[in-house]
Symmetry: C2
Subunit: 127 residues, 2 copies
């Protein structure tokens, strides 16, 4: 799969990935991927990332159920950022239970939370 050779990975063999809702255009989250995560995303159509904290592949939604179906993958001009255009399962991408991780807006001298919690994280991640 030579398309992976066009991706410019950093010194940790990772690339930045932005997930965007394909329907609304909302920027949902930013995470990392390695070569394996990109390959699996392309082959399965389900968004896969690499979790630096857990040091392993992170199949988005494996705990929360909020999977991302990838409609399109794009690469930027420098080759070091990937865009996943997704259909967001449950309409929730953020671990806080919000649609997007970008729920704080600069308002004067402070960040103000402007998006609602759609589902209590305790209910999303209950064991």
């Amino acid at each position: 799969m030579n398309w992976l050779d066009d991706v410019v990975f950093d010194e940790r063999d990772l690339v930045t990935v932005i997930a965007q809702d394909a329907a609304s255009g909302r920027v949902l989250m930013v995470a990392w991927a390695n070569r394996e995560a990109l390959a699996e995303t392309a082959s399965t159509g389900q968004a896969v990332y690499y979790s630096r904290s857990r040091a392993k592949l992170w199949r988005k939604g494996e705990e929360s159920g909020h999977r991302q179906q990838v409609k399109e993958m794009r690469l930027d001009c420098d080759g070091d950022v990937i865009l996943y255009r997704v259909e967001q399962g449950g309409g929730i991408a953020c671990h806080t239970g919000r649609e997007s991780c970008f729920f704080r807006r600069l308002d004067g001298d402070s960040w103000r939370t402007v998006d609602p919690v759609l589902k209590d994280p305790d209910l999303i991640y209950r064991k």
Copy 2:
């Protein structure tokens, strides 16, 4: 300006910034910012980044004329990615003369350029 204290800068004192067209929702580009770049962006309403290659502030459009008027700044849940929602001057964010830096789409086993060049870069950056 204590809002800057909520931003999680990396070991190089930089934070990832995504620029998104506020009207179309198109993800335009990804770059870096330092504390100074964010402060100037917030105070002037014009997108400022930090150029790693040139090791200085990069006032978007200072060469190309394609400035970005920042309508909104957002911070993600981890505090380490900023979203600029912008009005893109000239409708061109990419140095290749395209609207967006994400002009290559994965098509089978290769990246295919799917967005047109709107203006010849030689005309954008002529001395």
